[in-house]
Subunit: 168 residues, 2 copies
Amino acid sequence: VGTRDRRQRGRVAARVDHLVERCRQAGMNVTPQRLAIYRALLETDDHPSPEALYERVRAAMPSLSLATIYKTLEALARLGLVSELPTTGKARRYDGNVDRHHHLVCLGCNRVSDHADPALDRIPPPSRLRGFTAQHVSVHIHGLCAACAGAARPPSPPARRKSTWPGT
Amino acid sequence: VGTRDRRQRGRVAARVDHLVERCRQAGMNVTPQRLAIYRALLETDDHPSPEALYERVRAAMPSLSLATIYKTLEALARLGLVSELPTTGKARRYDGNVDRHHHLVCLGCNRVSDHADPALDRIPPPSRLRGFTAQHVSVHIHGLCAACAGAARPPSPPARRKSTWPGT
DNA sequence: GTAACTGCAAAAACTTTGCTGAGTT
DNA sequence: AACTCAGCAAAGTTTTTGCAGTTAC
């Protein structure tokens, strides 16, 4: 077991503890479903759709229902533990990481991946926003991922996919 | 009629001419529906969902069908004349303005408005993106719009609205 | 014990598709 | 005249809702 895994495990555990605490504060029950769903979201780097998350968590908890995924994600988002990504296309995508917040958006396949970048973190929220109160800034970088850039141009068919997504 | 309106009309006309040209190039027919839908999108500042656009255009063209809206928006997007905004929530939102590309995202009501900001335009696309080819950068500023900031905290009910949106 | 929650099934909301008659070039 | 397209209706996908039994506290 490497150092990195150990660190990852600690991070997940800490966040799960935090979830427990926030649930208690909010008068919400701590259920196995909530723990499993949150943990699954923390353990992955991609940004699963509700459907994709359902498939994953269901592997370990076969009785889980899709409706619970929806309800849970909404609850977690309300607690501020999870964020719903702005996406193009029809399915929602969730991110368990509330800190890092820049994204690489591939125009070829529509996938979104996280991008940590201290330089971008330093962009100051603009003032003079006509009444809008800025809280936090996130940068979207649009372009082509390695796979799509490699593929032929005209840019590979804009990925009108069905159902579950392969990756991020 | 003010100077500003005159300018606006000129801009719309120029873009509509451009649409005609691009349609011809692409072997696509120039239909009244396409003109009306594109014009409606250019004439508004909000980012209408297909449904909202349908309501608006239908006022002048009652025979219009919602399926045509979907097909037309997809066609316009393919021509690069219109862009689909990354949104949170379930309905798509379109923007007839392909240039300006920063957004104010209200965490209270989920509305997204355009934000022109030369300072943000100057942010250089980062290099070192592990194979990702950056084409263009857009900044999302998350916070509270004037209405939601005014309303009580805990931040006004996360706006799980039905159907058509009032504004941007 | 009580309040909150899950799973289910049905419904609602949103989007796509195939077809036919009509419009554009 | 050939080709493309709009409108329609039906189907497909994603999300929400109501409820009955179960679980967390």
